[in-house]
Symmetry: C2
Subunit: 235 residues, 2 copies
C-alpha cells in the first residue's frame, strides 16, 4: 500500500478521517506508524494529498488530511479482455488498476470456461476490492470502469464498433501478424484473448469491428503477463 485510499464514509469532518479496518492494521503492522507521522493519502475518485496521524489506538486511528495533488493520468485505452479464470481475474484487476487502464470490458470467448462466470470475484464489491488494491499500489485514486459482456457476438457486432471509433484497434494475438507498435500517443482499443487464445471466428468478428491482430513474438505469455507486456509496449 503506497497510498492510503479514503472513502467518503471515513470522513468525520472536511479534514478528519477515522480508520478501523485493514488500513488501520496496515498502518500499524507495515508502516509502523506513530502519532505525528505523515502519510500519503488519496480520496477515492478525487485528489491525493497528505495526512498526519493524530491518534492511534488498537481499534481506530484518526488522521488530519489535506488534498492538493491530481492523480496520475490514465492510459488512452479501452481494454477488451476475455474473462480470465477467477484467481487470475483478481490479479489482472489489480494490475489494470495499477497500470492506469480507465476502462475494461470483460467478455466471453469460446475458450472461457462457463464456470468462470459463476465466480463470486465478479460481484461488484469483489471487483472494487481488487481495483482498490491496485490503486493503492500505484498511487492513483480513480477506479477503472469495468463492463461485463457475457455474450461475445452481440457485443462485438453491436457495441464494439462505436467503442473503437477514432481509436487504433488492436488484437494481441500470437501468429504471423505485424509486431505490436511501440510508444503510441493515440487512443487504443486492445483485445486480449483467453488462455489458448481467441478462435479464428472471434478474430474475424473483432477484425470486422475494426481491430487488427498484432503479436509480441513466439513466446506464449500468461494473461496477466500479456496484459502488462502489451500495455508497457504500447504506451
Amino acid at each position: 500500500m503506497n497510498l492510503l485510499l479514503l472513502e467518503e464514509a471515513d470522513f468525520i469532518a472536511a479534514d478528519r478521517v477515522v480508520l478501523r479496518d485493514r488500513r488501520l492494521v496496515h498502518m500499524q503492522d507495515v508502516h509502523r506508524a506513530a502519532v505525528g507521522d505523515n502519510l500519503r493519502v488519496g480520496r477515492v475518485g478525487g485528489l491525493m494529498g497528505n495526512a498526519q496521524l493524530l491518534r492511534l489506538e488498537s481499534s481506530e486511528a484518526e488522521l488530519q488530511v489535506s488534498f492538493d495533488l491530481q492523480p496520475p493520468a490514465k492510459l488512452p485505452l479501452t481494454l477488451l479482455l476475455a474473462l480470465p479464470r477467477p484467481k487470475m481475474l483478481r490479479r489482472v484487476l489489480q494490475t489494470v488498476a495499477a497500470m492506469g487502464v480507465p476502462k475494461v470490458v470483460l467478455v466471453n470467448s469460446y475458450r472461457v470456461e462457463k464456470s468462470f462466470w459463476q465466480t463470486p470475484f465478479l460481484e461488484p464489491e469483489a471487483i472494487r476490492e481488487q481495483l482498490i488494491l491496485g490503486l493503492e499500489q500505484a498511487r492513483d485514486t480513480v477506479l477503472p470502469e469495468i463492463v461485463i459482456e457475457k455474450r461475445f457476438k452481440p457485443f462485438v457486432e453491436d457495441r464494439l464498433p462505436a467503442m473503437t471509433a477514432s481509436t487504433l484497434g488492436l488484437i494481441g494475438h500470437p501468429g504471423d501478424y505485424p509486431a505490436c507498435p511501440r510508444g503510441l500517443d493515440e487512443p487504443v482499443t486492445l483485445a486480449i484473448g483467453p488462455e489458448g487464445g481467441w478462435i479464428p471466428y472471434e478474430v474475424d468478428l473483432l477484425t470486422k469491428a475494426g481491430l487488427q491482430p498484432v503479436q509480441l513474438g513466439a513466446r506464449i505469455l500468461r494473461v496477466e503477463t500479456a496484459v502488462t507486456a502489451l500495455l508497457s509496449r504500447l504506451f
Copy 2:
C-alpha cells in the same frame, strides 16, 4: 502448459519417453489427450519438436518423439533483482523464464527482509520447478541461470562491473530520471529493486558500477509487474 518439457530420465530410447508425473495428469485432465494425438514437446536444454501418444494408461503414458526446432531466442539481458518475498519470488521466476531472460542475479538489499533468505523456495530444486513452469508456458527449453548474491556491497563492487562491461546498465527506479528507453537491440544489465525501492546508498553503488537510473512514470508497480513492464519496453 503449452509445451511438454522432457527430462533425460524420461527417455527409454532415443525416440521414446514414458511419463508418470504431473505431466501425465496434465495430458489427461487439460489436454484430454488420446492415443494417436500429437503434442508439442521440448527437451530441457535442447530442441523442440513433436510427440505422438502411443499408449495412455492411468499411471503412465508412452510417447514417440522427434526434435527439429530451435527454442526461441533469449533476451540480451542480465537481470539483477532484489530478492522478492517468497510468494512473489515463485511468480517472478516463472515470469522471467517465460519472457526469455537468460540470467538472473538475486541480490540482497536494505529493504529485503532477512526472513526472505530462509525460504525453501530458494532451494535449487524449488527454483528449477518454477523456471520449468515458465518455460512450459512460453514454449522454451533453456533454463535461465539463477545466481544468488546474499551480500550487496561485495557483489556490486567486485563482480557487477565485469558483468555490465559492454552492456547498457540500467536501474529501474521511480523518480526524476530519464524515461526507460524502448526497443533496444544491444545487451542490457537491468537492476530492479525490492518493494519500497533501492535506498540512495544502493543507487550510488550501482551507479558507480556503471548502471544509470531510468523510470517508467509516477505509478509504483509490484515487482512482478515492473519486471514484465521494463522488459517489454526495453526489447
